[in-house]
């Protein structure tokens, strides 16, 4: 229950206070969000399988976000930023679907 409340509070705070990210970081926010979603699905799957560890969760979340942003940043530096961000989104999307399938099997046994 607490994670859901945290998510809702985050959305509400983001909508009401309208915090702004530094301009230099704004191109990496969408990629970071996709990476965070991947980490969240992975954590939920681990939780349902009974192997959830908050330490692993925090580390995987932060490293996912950082690595995704870093890949896109490097891509921007060498001129293939848009292609690399597409690659990151595809890979993370595949992972999200895999995790979602595992979650579905755990919850509905189907």
């Amino acid at each position: 229950m607490l994670p859901l409340i945290g998510l809702l509070v985050g959305i509400v705070v983001g909508l009401l206070l309208e915090p702004t990210l530094p301009l230099a970081l704004q191109p990496y926010l969408p990629i970071a969000i996709v990476a965070a979603l991947d980490a969240l699905f992975g954590a939920f799957r681990a939780y349902l399988e009974g192997v959830f560890s908050d330490r692993v969760f925090v580390i995987s979340f932060i490293s996912n976000v950082l690595i995704a942003a870093l890949i896109v940043w490097v891509g921007d530096q060498i001129g293939v930023g848009s292609q690399l961000s597409t690659a990151v989104v595809v890979v993370l999307g595949i992972r999200i679907f895999t995790n979602a399938a595992a979650i579905r099997r755990q919850l509905f046994h189907a």
Binding site: M1, L2, P3, L4, I5, G6, L7, L8, V9, G10, I11, V12, V13, G14, L15, E18, P19, T20, L21, L23, Q26, P27, L29, P30, A32, I33, A36, L37, A39, L40, A43, Y47, L48, E49, G50, V51, F52, S53, D54, F57, V58, F61, D76, G81, S82, Q106, L107
Partner: protein
């Protein structure tokens, strides 16, 4: 998960573990809540940026360069269009200017010709000549002579008795002792108002053997009084009947 003492054993079914944790949150849930808070915050931020900010905020450098390039060529195109339109405007202004000059010129000619044709009143310096002939011997030909003399002296507008405006088609006749001009009877004494240079007009009337000597001579026995006026007002108009037969042969040649 040894650190979660209150949690059920890992081998319990997933669904029941989910329900159990909803009732009794642990440390992992707090951490997950914090991280989800961050994700929600970031998501809301990104959605707001995508929705409200213009398309250029998230555009990459190459896209921006392309957009800038497009804007540059667009502005060059618009600048050349502006130059074209300004040239057109200059041309049109010049056209309007020459048109205005032509209009003023024709207006000036119109007022000149209107005075000549007697369709407008006229005023200016001139003379008033009063012809008295007790013997009623002034004839139409004398009046024609008088008009001719005045015209020779540069008369620009002539009027008899405040009622007959002398124009190109004016005629005089005498019916016995009655003088008629343009179908109107001229009462004696005859008053002639002439606009022109007063000095020349008076000299033209008074020269030896001229109008004055003819009238005051023994054959007519009349008298002529002439006053020079700084302002003579001619108000009678000649009504021009529409030409029945004569038409302009062609447009007047444009002077070059």
């Amino acid at each position: 998960m040894p650190e979660h003492g209150s949690e059920p054993t890992p081998r319990q079914p997933a669904g029941s573990r989910l329900w159990h944790s909803l009732a009794r949150p642990g440390r992992g849930q707090v951490i997950a809540a914090v991280i989800l808070f961050v994700v929600g915050l970031g998501g809301a931020m990104q959605i707001r940026i995508t929705n409200t900010d213009d398309a250029y905020t998230n555009a990459r450098r190459e896209d921006l360069i392309q957009i800038l390039d497009g804007l540059g060529s667009e502005s060059r195109r618009l600048e050349s269009e502006i130059a074209d339109l300004q040239q057109t405007r200059t041309t049109l202004e010049g056209g309007a200017d020459s048109r205005r000059v032509a209009e003023e010129e024709s207006q000036r000619r119109l007022s000149e010709l209107s005075i000549l044709a007697g369709t407008v009143g006229a005023r200016g310096p001139g003379i008033r000549m009063r012809i008295t002939d007790p013997g009623q011997k002034v004839t139409a030909s004398v009046l024609v002579d008088a008009v001719q003399e005045m015209r020779d002296a540069g008369a620009e507008a002539i009027e008899f008795n405040d009622s007959v405006r002398v124009v190109a088609s004016t005629w005089f006749s005498s019916d016995g002792t009655t003088l008629v001009a343009d179908d109107k009877r001229l009462q004696r004494p005859i008053t002639m108002e002439v606009i022109g240079d007063p000095h020349s007009l008076e000299e033209a009337a008074r020269f030896r053997g001229g109008l004055v000597s003819e009238i005051s001579g023994p054959r007519i026995g009349g008298a002529v009084s002439i006053e020079r006026l700084a302002q003579v007002e001619i108000t009678s108009l000649h009504s021009q009947a529409e030409n029945q037969y004569a038409r302009p042969a062609s447009a007047a040649p444009t002077p070059r």
